[in-house]
């Protein structure tokens, strides 16, 4: 029994009796104990996992109704609430916060008999691209532990790539699912804004963030999306997807489809030559699959990183102001403090990147500067949306490398926030426009993975997953060197 099997193989194995949930979960826990000192994918583990798996096996044996996941170990990013479990957001500020309710995605997974194996590491409050900003130490890239796994859902990507879980849920505000998926050679999907409920996801930038599925295979991601998507009365931004089945017809192919190469994301001095060469190979593969390729220009892309950081820091400044040690916080004696100085002192527990973004978030929407920053950013966002709509009136999909650079070494960019922000240039467009985008692992060059990003129009996840599946089948990736 290999821990590297796909979600579909796992389900078939349980159904035909070749594996049991208990055996698989036990082996997964054993493996986690072995590799965690090296990888650090998790912040906390579920001690009841084995017991839950046993209960599901009993149901299978008794011929009772069993949920779609049959006790499959799934990990959850630690900014998604699980009732009774710690939800730290990788921050000292929430180190001992215990969520009093389940996020909608967690309720849905529990209803389908998933075993939530643990909560995964992230950049503090999902702000970063490397997990280097986790208050509990970084996760390591399983392909080479000297390199970052990407972020902010780095722990989720590591847990899947490192065979510590079959599937994972991350959150994607500016590429936080797709970036680590690319760096760790797994599949990561940012769904259409509103397709998946954000109820129970700790807010960072509500207007653009989404919970997204991650897995080793495109079909696994489709399966997970099937069970987390849809309308939720707790989140008024959610969309009724009419229970669409994203898995059926996933092998339909993309013959005759039109694919646009986003010029501004696929050329220029910021693009690493190795990434460019892998991207070129993926274009040839799309052509061989029968797709028609053309170049598309979105000139607003040049301004998207600035736009993204202006908008998200403004939202973060507002969202994170609740961590004042009155409503949420930690053990800090108030003796000797005046009220306001107590709150500002309490906020010292934020790490450097969160602090930086809170400072920016207080500044960019402030009187006298909102016109220069915030309003311009909103106008760029509006124009970008129009350009994307125009592009999708001509093309079925838009493609680019997921990240313009290869995974980098720890410490390489941590002192240069701007260099780190620019790694987001290919991923933020999907968030700013709300369209779905997926990262598909395509090649591993000199031991470092490269992913290809495909965008589709709003709510076209089914077609997007078909394109990703077709691309996935044109490449054979090496096994992760654990």
């Amino acid at each position: 029994m290999s821990l590297g099997i796909s979600a579909i193989e796992y389900i078939n194995g349980i159904k035909n009796g070749t594996i049991t949930a208990e055996e698989f979960v036990a082996k997964t826990i054993e493996h986690i104990k072995k590799v965690e000192p090296k990888l650090h994918a998790f912040i906390s583990l579920n001690d009841n996992a084995l017991e839950q798996a046993r209960a599901i096996d009993k149901k299978v044996k008794a011929g009772q109704n069993v949920g779609a996941f049959y006790g499959m170990p799934i990990s959850i990013k630690d900014n998604i609430c699980i009732k009774g479990g710690k939800t730290t957001c990788a921050s000292r500020m929430l180190e001992n916060y215990t969520a009093p309710y389940d996020a909608t995605v967690v309720s849905k997974l529990n209803a389908q008999d998933a075993v939530i194996i643990g909560k995964t590491n992230l950049d503090e409050f999902a702000m970063g691209v490397a997990t280097e900003f986790s208050a509990f130490g970084p996760s390591k890239n399983p392909w080479d532990t000297e390199y970052v796994p990407g972020g902010s859902s780095g722990g989720s990507a590591v847990s899947v790539a490192g065979l510590e879980s079959i599937l994972s849920l991350g959150s994607d505000t500016g590429g936080s699912v797709r970036n680590p998926a690319s760096f760790c050679s797994i599949v990561g999907l940012k769904p259409t804004y509103g397709l998946v409920s954000r109820y129970g996801l700790v807010s960072y930038a509500n207007s653009i963030e989404q919970i997204g599925p991650m897995g080793r295979r495109v079909e696994d991601v489709a399966l997970l999306l099937n069970h987390i998507a849809g309308k939720d009365p707790h989140d008024p931004t959610t969309i009724d997807n009419k229970n669409q089945d994203y898995l059926s017809g996933i092998d339909s192919g993309i013959s005759g489809k039109k694919i646009g190469i986003i010029k501004e994301m696929s050329s220029g001095s910021g693009l690493d030559s190795t990434v460019a060469s892998v991207f070129k190979n993926s274009i040839s593969a799309f052509e061989k699959l029968g797709a028609k390729i053309e170049e598309v220009s979105l000139d607003m892309v040049e301004y998207t990183v600035a736009t993204y950081y202006v908008l998200t820091t403004a939202e973060a400044g507002s969202n994170l102001s609740r961590y004042d040690n009155l409503r949420y916080g930690y053990d800090l004696d108030s003796e000797g403090y005046e009220f306001k100085s107590y709150i500002s002192k309490a906020r010292r527990n934020f790490g450097p990147e969160v602090t930086r973004r809170m400072i920016l978030g207080g500044f960019v929407p402030s009187a006298g500067f909102a016109g220069k920053y915030l309003l311009k950013a909103l106008k760029v966002k509006s124009k970008l949306k129009k350009q994307i709509e125009a592009a999708f009136s001509k093309c079925d999909f838009l493609i680019s490398p997921t990240v313009p650079v290869l995974p980098f070494k720890f410490g390489e960019k941590i002192d240069d926030p701007l260099a780190m922000y620019l790694a987001d240039i290919n991923t933020v467009t999907a968030n700013l426009t709300g369209v779905p985008a997926i990262s598909v692992p395509y090649e591993v060059k000199n031991g470092l993975p490269v992913g290809i990003q495909i965008h589709a129009n709003l709510l076209q996840e089914k077609q997007l997953l078909q394109a990703a599946y077709a691309l996935q089948n044109t490449t054979k990736l090496p096994e992760v060197p654990l």
Binding site: E36, H40, F42, I43, S44, L45, N46, D47, N48, G84, G85, K86, N96, T98, P100, G118, N121, F136, G137, S207, D235, P236, D299, E302, Y303, V305, A306, T307, Y309, V310, G317, S321, K340, S341, I343, S344, K345, R347, R348, F350, T355, R356, I359, L360, G362, F363, V364, K372, Y373, L375, K376, L378, K379, V380, S382, K383, K385, P417, L418, Y421
Partner: protein
Amino acid sequence: MRIDIENSDEYFERVKKILGYFDILDKANIEGEEVPVQQVAIDELRDDKYVAFEDPLIQQLKNYRDSYVRAPKMN
């Protein structure tokens, strides 16, 4: 919002650099572009109702501690 920081010079320099980068927005051709306004009808909003937490919260929090999860990497 107030926040206490150590090494304020370092934060100041880095934030200044980022704000300098944001000046790129001055070059964007967004003339005539409107600021998008999102409108949601009141009846589409989530009901503003009080949902009682049925468990005894303080007791539950004590029970949860060190039971449901273990956090090997916390220090």
